[in-house]
Every structure is written in C-alpha cells, then in structure tokens.
Amino acid sequence: MTSPLEQKIRIAGPSIITANRTFDGAVIYRNASQGWSTDLSEAAIVRTVAEARALLAESVADDIGAVGAYIAPVEINDGGNIKPGNLREQIRQRGVTIELPVLA
C-alpha cells in the first residue's frame, strides 16, 4: 500500500488536509498550528504542491492522533469563507444528506 506521501500530488486550487480522529473517527482538518480542528474554517489552506506535501507529511506523522490524512479541495467564497470543494467533503463536513432514523 503506497503511503499518501509517495502518491503523486496534484493541486487544482485551494486545498486542505483532512483526516479522521483516531479515538472516535470524527472528521478533522489540519490547522496552521501543527494541530487538528473539527472546524473547517480553521483549516490551513495550501495552494501549491510543495505546500501540500509539507502539510501532508506533518499530518501523516501524527499517526496517533489522526487516521487516513489526504488532500481535499476547497472553495473560498466571496466572504473569504472556506467551503468544501466537492460533494464528498460536503457530506463529511455537514453529515449525511438524509434524516437520521433517530433524532440525536
């Protein structure tokens, strides 16, 4: 299995690093202070392959805290807010698109 660092990195626009938190599986985003946040607005943005590679390496090195880190596209809207860049990331950020059978 190739590590994400060995795979070819492509950046099509502003991107972030995201993963799942090891102890509970929650969606997390790599921030700019060598840590993770569950809030997408705190994610560090990378715009070049070099930046992405560096942030990914740092993320992957945190094997205890996070699982499965990868690069995900985002959109920055007019207000400067970070939005998920595809449906998959939308679902990860907001949750399932259907009503859960039981209200939490």
Binding site: T22, F23, D24, G25, V27, I91, V96, I98, L100
Partner: protein, 551 residues
C-alpha cells in the same frame, strides 16, 4: 437457535480481550495505523466518511430476542440509536468510537454476539436462507452446516490472511433464497441416490468490478467431507490467488484465469493429498452440533383459525398479510416478514426502540427468534396464524408493517456516499425517492414482484448486478450519475443484469425507473408475468427505447 456453550463464549471473550489490547496499543502509538488497520478489519471496524463503522456478525441470520435487545443497547449506548441490516445478514453501526469499541464488544459477548471476521481478507459470515428450518420443502436445516462452517472458519490459522475476502452461502431449498451463485463458495444441500446428505459445491461467484456467476466445481460432496473439501479450495486460493492487484484478488478471478476444469483439478489434487483428514466429520460430531440447535415445540393448530377469518375482512390487514406472511412447514404457523423499507425511509435501518419492540414481539409470538434476511428485512419465523392480526397491529404501531415485501419499494441499497468512503454517489436518497414515487400500494401490487438493488459504487454491496432493476452510482465530472441495468436475478436462475444505456443524473433516476415500469406494464403478456420475465422474453431493447426516447 444454536446455543453457545462455555467453549464458544470463552473464545468470544478471549477475542474481545485481544482486541481491547490492540486498541490500547493503537491509541498509545505502539501500533501504527498501517499495522492496526488489518487487525481492526478482522473485528469488523471500518473507517468511513464521518466515523468508524462497526459491523457485527449475525451468523446465518439467526438472532434471539435477548441478542436483539443487546444490539438495541449498543445502538443506544455507543451509537446514535439505530442500526443497519446488511446484504450479508449482519448489522452495522455507523457512529461508533474506537475507544469505546472494546466495551461495546464485551456487552455483545455476554449474549454470544461477536464481530470476528466481518471484514478483512478472511472468511466472512456464512449466510443462509432466512427461512432455514421453517421453509416447506426444505431438505434439512442448512444452519447446522452453516454453524459447522462458522466454527471451522473462525480464527483459522492458515486462512486469516487470504488474498481477499471470502464469502460462503448455503441453501437447502429448491428456491435459492441465499443467493449462493454470487458467493465465493456456494453450497446447495441435497441428498444423493442413497439418501445421504451432501452438497453441490459452486465456486467463483461474486459481484464488484468483474461480476461472475459461480460455477459448479463438484456436483456432490458428502456431508462428512464438507470441511476437508472446503479446506482444499481455501488452500489452493491462499497459495495461488493473486495478491498483486486488489481488483483481481478474489477467487472468482483465479477460477476464471485457470478455467473451472483446471481449478477443479487443483482442488481435487490437494484434497486427495490430504488423505484421511482430521476434518472428516463423523456422525457423532454432526449430531453434537445438531443437538445444540433447539427448535420450538409447535402446537397442533388449525389451518384457518377464527381470528384470521375475522381479520381477513379488514382490507388493511389483508393487504399486509398478502405480502408479509409466508407458508410455514408446520400447519397453523406462518413466517412473517417485517419490512424495514418504510416509504421515505432509508432501507434496512431499525431504531433501538424498534429493535426492542421486535424482541418483545418475538418473545410473544415467535418463540423468541428473529431472522435477518440479505434483502435487509427481518422475519419472525414461527408465528401462530391466530396471532397474525394482533401481531400486525403491534408492528404497525412501530412502523414495521409496510405492505411492500418483494414489491418495487422493497429496495435493497448499500449505505452509499452518505456514509461510505468507498462510494462514488449516494444510494439512500435514490431509494427514498423511489419509495415515494411508488408509495401507492395499489400501484405497487399492480406492478408485482420487482427487486430494485442500488449500489453507490462498483464494489456492489447493494448487489445491483443481480437486481431486476439494478442502479449503480458513478461519478462524472464531480456529479452523481447512475447506470441502470435490468434483468438480473440472484436466485437459482442467477443472471447479471444488462445495461440499458448511458448513465443518468441523480435527479432523473426515479423518472427512468418510472419509464421502465411503464414499459413493463404495457409489454407484459399478462399481469402474472413478472417484470424480470418480461425482460427475459423481450430483451432490453424495448425498455432502452422507452427510457432514452426523450433523453
């Protein structure tokens, strides 16, 4: 119902303690994720989009009420109050925390439930006919053999690291409700001319990227040789199955590349070399397992009890009965299917409250036993016919009496992109919209038996290849698109569906299905001709024309 004894329970508990230690070593960093992944998969723990997913085994789809209550407890205490029943008779929880998993497993172990080998490259749940032991005309209860296989395959030291996953299914009826032809090993229980029990053994079935219908490798393997013969197959696969490409690693590829004759010869050679095997089952051993299956003590009941006669005048009850109640091998009893496909709901889910309610109803009306079907519905296998009206009322109260079993809105769907990190597209909203379009029960009855299967990606967990209508989610330029196939079947006449045309976008899938149904209603020879038979008779062309005329 199989009664676990101290040995079975000890093994489960030992496994829980091992996993507890593995989780501890993972969270402390002593195990890397790369080392841990395989270990957690062997305990049914996936990492999905939002959270871990935990898949619990329900061996051959049989549960006791006590066990179902414990699943409800796990749903409440460790998850978000519901569970999802799968196309392999298992149950999945979608929001479990890794750190809490050992406790959840310990709670399940207390009632003889485990999650061993529900994932990973090993031998998975041995599934069977959801009506095993109660279906009329069944040769003998296939679950005895499923249990023998379950024990044989659990923590097998030689076969825990196969090239890829390995799935078994067993049927003992002429009509195959276990879909054995789409399994890695399919077993058809039958008797030889001497009246001895044995199996037609099929290999190499499976869906996914390269779907195959299983081929017969041996028409009759005597019951006593079942395990040794299976060992021969697994040993050949373990050694020669491809490990260079995960998309070519299932046994179906090996069978295809060698050809069935050569593959059969390899297995036969290995089996002969095994000689007098310690795996040969003698009567004493088979009886030992059989003796730990308990069966209800049925009463002598009338074929048509008064309560039923009266209730038949109620059209709402009658409609439910028509679709949910099936003939039992014992007079006066019935098999009742509980639809987990409410209009607008996600297929196959049950809340903790519903699970508790079903457990109570099982105690009251079904000798404490529940069945899980691969079509993602549940069943109460031993209901006295006189109890049907009361049971219906109770089920209706908790939303488990939708009269759509085997109809168009009884949809099989994988979790899809809402949950699953492998998916390309969502499947549940498609299923929900379809149940809304076909919510009218008269219409659904008019259409008749029609199985829709939806998969959110090519891994085909929704079994779309063998759906009468199959729907496969794909991604095109960041948008969700769906390929539609028709004419598939999963039973003894198993066949793969045929693509009707180019993929259609998310918003059009329900319209396409409506068009297909309209075409069917116009083209069928008579109302009793099932959709899938009309497709067989006429081919795909008339449906393709109808659907793509305006697209």
């Amino acid at each position: 119902m199989y009664a676990y004894d101290e040995l079975d329970r000890t093994l489960i508990n030992e496994r829980v303690e091992e996993f507890r230690d593995q989780v501890k070593r993972r969270l402390s960093g002593e195990l890397t994720e790369d080392e841990f992944k395989m270990l957690r998969l062997q305990n049914g723990v996936y990492l999905q989009l939002h959270a871990y997913m935990f898949r619990v085994a329900i061996p051959y789809g049989t549960l006791s009420s006590q066990q179902l209550r414990r699943l409800a407890h796990v749903a409440r205490r460790y998850d978000r109050g519901y569970g999802h029943f799968t196309t392999r008779q298992n149950i999945q929880f979608n929001w479990i925390k890794l750190a809490e998993l050992p406790d959840a497993l310990a709670a399940l172990a207390e009632v003889g439930i485990h999650s061993m080998q529900t994932s990973g490259n090993n031998t998975r749940n041995v599934t069977s006919d959801r009506w095993a032991g109660v279906a009329p005309g069944e040769i003998e209860d296939p679950r005895i053999w499923s249990e023998l296989l379950r024990q044989y395959t659990t923590l097998h030291p030689e076969f825990s690291f196969l090239p890829r996953k390995f799935k078994f299914a067993i049927t003992a009826s002429a009509h195959d409700r276990a879909a054995i032809k789409i399994h890695d090993i399919g077993l058809r229980l039958h008797k030889n001319a001497q009246g001895e029990t044995g199996f037609e053994v099929l290999v190499g079935g499976g869906l996914g990227r390269t779907p195959f219908i299983a081929k017969t490798i041996k028409p009759f393997v005597h019951g006593r040789d079942l395990l040794s013969y299976v060992e021969a197959i697994l040993r050949v696969y373990n050694q020669y199955g491809r490990r260079d490409n995960i998309y070519k690693a299932r046994i179906k590829i090996l069978v295809h590349e060698l050809g069935i004759e050569k593959f059969a010869a390899e297995v036969e050679e290995e089996w002969r070399a095994m000689g007098d095997s310690a795996l040969t089952l003698d009567d004493a051993v088979i009886e030992e397992v059989r003796s730990r299956f308990s069966y209800p003590i049925y009463e002598k009941l009338p074929h048509m009890p008064e309560e039923l006669k009266k209730a038949a005048r109620d059209p709402v009850f009658e409609r439910w009965r028509r679709h949910s109640v099936f003939t039992h091998k014992v007079q006066g009893y019935a098999i009742v299917t509980l639809s987990l496909k409410p209009v607008g709901g996600p297929p196959g889910d049950a809340t903790a409250d519903q699970m508790d309610a079903i457990a109570d109803l099982a105690d009251k009306y079904s000798f404490g036993e529940i069945r899980v079907g691969h079509e993602q519905n549940l069943a109460l296998p031993h209901v006295a016919k006189g109890d049907l009206p009361a049971l219906f009322k109770a089920l209706d109260k908790v939303g488990l009496a939708t009269p759509n079993v085997n109809l168009i809105s009884d949809i099989i769907a994988c979790p899809g992109l809402d949950y699953c990190s492998l998916a390309n597209a969502r499947s549940i909203p498609i299923a929900q919209e379809l149940t809304r379009r076909f919510a009218n029960h008269d219409t659904a009855e008019l259409i008749g038996r029609l199985h829709i299967n939806i998969s959110g990606c090519i891994n085909a967990c929704g079994h779309h290849h063998v759906g009468h209508i199959g729907i496969l989610g794909v991604e095109k330029n960041g948008e969700e698109f769906y390929q539609i196939t028709i004419g598939g079947r999963a039973d003894e006449s198993a066949e793969l569906g045929v693509l009707i045309g180019p993929a259609v976008p998310f918003g059009e899938v329900a319209d396409v299905v409506e068009d297909i149904v309209e075409a069917y209603l116009a083209l069928r020879e008579r109302p009793e001709e099932l959709f899938v038979d009309t497709v067989k008779r006429l081919g795909v062309e008339p449906f393709r024309e109808r659907v793509y005329a305006t697209r």
